[in-house]
Structures are given as C-alpha cells and as structure tokens.
C-alpha cells in the first residue's frame, strides 16, 4: 500500500499589484520568484512609451563580474515594454504606482539588475519629390507653377482642350490672405465651356507605371455642389481597348445616400480595378480638406480629414500593373469625360514612395491652422 504525502503551501501577495507566481519550481528555475526581498525598480513616471521600439536591461547573477544586456523590441506601450522584459525569463516584471510615481519593478535575490534603457523609434522622414505650395506670389505671365522641392518638377498650366494649351498663371486667380495664412490657387468652374477649364499637367514620371509606389498629399477645397462631382484630384488614366489603365483619386457624390466619397483606384487592363474608398462623414463645400492617396507596390491607400476633422482611412490590396499612356494631371482626368476639379488648392505634395499615413497626419497638423478661413473664395 502506498502512503499519501501532503504538501501544503501558503502563498501571500504582499503588494497591491497582481503578481505572477512560479510555485514548487526549484532554485535553478530563473523565474522562481517566491520569498525574494530585493526589489529593483525604475521610475518611468515621465516617460511616454508611445514612440518606443526597443527596451534593454542590464542583468547579472549574484557574484558575476559584469552585466549582460538583454534587449527586445516593443510596440510603443508600457504593456509591451513589461511583456518584453518578461521574455528575459528571469523573475517577473510588473508596474505599480506609489506616491504619484510609476515604476517598472522586479524582485530577485539571485540576480542583480542595472540600468534600463528605452529607445525611441525614429520614423523615416520623407521629402516631397514635387511640392506645389500656393503660399507665395505667383509670377504673372508664367505658364507653370514652380516645384518648390529641389527636383524642378514644375507643373504646366493646362486647359481642358488638351496638353500644352497653357494659360498663364493670371488666368488662375490666386489669393494670399492677410493674417499669416497660406495662399491658394483657384480653379473656378467653367464646365459650361470645358475647353477653358483649368488644370495642371504633371511631369511624365508621375504616371507611376507598373507597380511603382507613390503618394499624393493635398489641401484642397471643393466647390462641391452635387452637380459638379465627380471631381478628379489626380489622375493618369486612359482607355486601353475596352478597359481603363492608370490611376485616379476622385471625389464622388452618391445622390441616393447623399454622401460624398473619396476613392483611389488603380486600373489594370488584365486584372481590372483595385480601389480604396472612404465615405466622408461630413462634407461642406468650400471648406479646406486634407487628403492622401498612395500605393506601396502591394496596397492602394486613401485617407482624408473631412469637414468635421474626422480622420478616415482605407486600404486594399492592389496587384494592378499600370500601363497607362495618358499624361498625369492634377485637377482633371484625361478621359473624354474630363472630370475636372472645381475649387481651390492650397498645397500639393507628390512623393515617389508610399510615405505611410504618419506623414499625412503630420502635414495635416502642420498646415491646419495656416489654411485661410473657409468661404473666402470669390
């Protein structure tokens, strides 16, 4: 007959934080953490983890001559920082607050801990490959709008009847309000005579053929009466056989739902169209909106801050191969339907990379208080 043998252990959590326990594991288990009285803690009260991407900690066994360093990636939160430290596998780390101070802490009698280091991620900074900012005087009589980047990608003024029919800039009413606001360039409605509707011809390299990545970011306000949409912001689009080829970023209006949408589409004559679209929760004519459309070789992106300042984004896979033969335009497409833009542009930036939505958000916050007040378009 075998004899039962009882083992009974009382465990007490003496802190005001939930603790992880490893019970009945021998001292060789580095996470054995009961009855440890030596506490290591790091004051993180003033630290903002939102931009952190790495954390490291010095550690050594009792009696060891020097520290080793453990480093791990984290995802911009205190929770992920603590989880990352616990992947070290020595004791358990947790957070607590006392007297207004927030700590990361661990108890350990077998190991000694030193400095805690937290790295801040540095997101890549993108510079526009073309920048058309209407925050400067427009030289009267000029037939192009200057690219303010260092790349010289000037945009040609253009009329609806075709390429190289170039009005001079005085035909585009431009405004520089007082009060430190940025100016803008006006593209008034003349749809009754489409051949005189204004737009801009972009450099050919902005056809973005194949699967080349790109980003368009713009501040614009649309006259937006329902009869004037769709309105094309950017496009390089032509008909190839019975199919379309190229890309468009276009503002549309659904009369049935009384909703405005911004859609970015890439067309492939073989595989069809891939689009990403956002429906604006709020749309007010002649109100400054900030929008982005982009492609990274895999996904097509769209985003906008609508009239209420709501941040809306969408993305979808796009394997379309762009084989357009159309010239790229800002303010119209090149199809026979000629969906011209009517309204005003205050800022246009074009990148030959997908910048991510972070660059878009930065642009929005950088300019939102500098765009002139709503409703001053004559």
């Amino acid at each position: 007959m075998k004899t039962p043998f009882d083992i009974s252990v009382n465990i007490v959590n003496n802190t005001s934080a939930t603790q992880r326990v490893n019970l009945a594991s021998s001292p060789i288990d580095l996470q054995a953490n009961l009855n440890n009285t030596t506490q290591y803690r790091w004051d993180i009260t003033t630290y903002n983890f939102s931009t952190s991407n790495k954390i490291s900690v010095q550690y050594k066994a009792n009696g060891a001559a020097s520290f080793s360093v453990y480093q791990t990636g984290i995802s911009g939160s205190l929770t992920s920082a603590v989880a990352g430290l616990n992947n070290l596998g020595i004791g358990f780390f947790y957070t607590y607050s006392a007297s207004g101070i927030t700590y990361i802490t661990t108890y350990n009698n077998a190991y000694i801990f030193g400095q805690l280091s937290i790295d801040v991620s540095t997101p890549p900074v993108y510079s526009p490959n073309a920048l058309y900012a209407a925050n400067q005087p427009f030289p009267s009589g000029q037939s192009f709008i200057q690219d303010l980047s260092v790349h010289g990608k000037d945009a040609q003024t253009n009329l609806g009847t075709g390429i190289n029919n170039s009005p001079i800039l005085r035909d585009y009413p431009a405004y520089q309000p007082s009060g430190g606001y940025y100016g803008y360039i006006n593209m008034p409605y003349n749809g009754s005579i489409p051949s005189t509707q204004l737009s801009f011809l972009l450099p050919t390299s902005y056809q973005f053929l194949g699967t080349l990545p790109y980003t368009f970011i713009t501040w614009f306000q649309s006259s937006g009466t329902t009869s004037l949409v769709p309105q094309t912001l950017f496009s390089a689009l032509n008909v190839s056989g019975v199919n379309l080829s190229g890309y468009t970023i276009v503002l549309t209006y659904n009369s049935g739902l009384n909703q405005y949408s911004l859609t970015h589409s890439r067309y492939d004559v073989v595989t069809g169209v891939n689009s990403a679209s956002v429906t604006l929760g709020s749309f007010t004519p002649n109100t400054w909106l900030c929008a982005i459309g982009g492609y990274d070789g895999t996904n097509v992106y769209i985003g906008i801050y609508d009239s209420a300042g709501s941040y809306l984004t969408n993305q979808n896979p796009s394997i379309a191969t762009n084989t357009t033969t159309a010239s790229p335009f800002w303010g119209r497409d090149s199809l026979p339907s000629e969906s011209f833009f009517t309204g005003a542009f205050g800022y246009v930036a074009i990148y030959t990379a997908w910048t991510g939505f972070a660059t878009f958000q930065n642009t929005y916050f950088q300019y939102k208080n500098l765009m002139p007040p709503t409703g001053i378009i004559p």
Binding site: T3, F5, N14, S117, D119
Partner: protein
C-alpha cells in the same frame, strides 16, 4: 535616441510574494503524512531527490476571485524548454466558493524540481495550495534500478515499497 534609467535597489523586509509551508493537518485525511517543520526553500531543495506525483490539488483563498485565476502546470523537457499544460479547476464565480479540489489528469502533475505551477495571485491576496501526492525517492541510488529490473524479469513485485519512504 535612448533614455537610460538607473535602477533603484530596495532591500525590503517582506517579499513581494511569500511562501511558507503550511500545517496541513486541518485538511489532511487519515493515514496521510504531512510535510511540516521545514521551510519552503528546504522543500525546494528536496525536489529532485524526492519526486512527488500529485493526484489531487486543493486551492483555498478568502478571495473567491483568486480561485477563478487560470493555473498552468509547467515542466522542463530534456532540452530545457518549458512545456505548459493548463489546469482547469472550475467554480461558479457567483457562489463565492473559497476552496476547491481538483483532480488533474493522471500522471500529469509531477513535482521533480524541473516543474511547478504558474499563476497570478491577486493583489493583497493569500492562497493555500495543497498537493496530495505519492512520494518517490531516489535515496536507494542506482541499486533501485536493479530491483525494478529483477521484478520485471520475475514478474513478482516483492520489492514493493522497498525504496519508498514510510
């Protein structure tokens, strides 16, 4: 760019989580030997020499919420990797039960120094964990293997309990 924070070392008189061997007499059954009069660290140091096969576990806490906390049994494999097995004692969280018996899968919970239970213990909460076990000891050393081999060949368990403590 990195921010470096120096560790503050605090020598506390009380551990964050303390463990003591409890007097199990109040819940022991007749004929049971209770491990008492030893410290928790002494118990840990006995593991490896003594191996305990737990057939029933008992958890008790005045904080009934503690008993709904997930409990995991872990054991190190030959490569030093931890293998985990979730135990699933269940209580009705609305009945404020403060003790529960749990019978794990037979042969699952073995305390051998390379295994244990891992769980969260809630703030300012205490819990009693009791293992009802059969103890095996290797105090017979290598000779015990010879005895077992002899028993197999003869198919007679005449060394039964020879190598077990009474």
């Amino acid at each position: 760019m990195a921010t470096t924070i120096t560790a503050e070392i605090v020598n506390n008189t009380t551990a964050n989580v303390s463990a003591t061997m409890a007097d199990a007499s109040s819940i022991s059954t007749g004929g049971t030997i209770t491990l008492s009069g030893v410290s928790y660290n002494q118990f840990l140091q006995s593991l490896g020499r003594d191996v305990y096969l737990a057939f029933t576990l008992y958890f008790a806490s005045q904080n009934s919420a503690q008993l709904t906390t997930p409990i995991t049994f872990f054991i190190l494999d030959a490569n030093g990797n931890k293998k985990y097995e979730t135990l699933s004692p269940t209580i009705d969280p609305y009945q404020f039960v403060n003790a529960i018996y749990y019978n794990p899968e037979k042969g699952l919970v073995v305390l051998n120094g390379n295994s244990g239970l891992t769980f969260d213990i809630l703030a300012n909460t205490s819990m009693r964990v009791q293992f009802y076990t059969i103890r095996k000891s290797n105090q017979g050393g290598a000779h015990s293997i010879n005895f077992i081999e002899l028993e197999k060949r003869e198919n007679v368990p005449f060394f039964l309990e020879y190598n077990e403590e009474v």
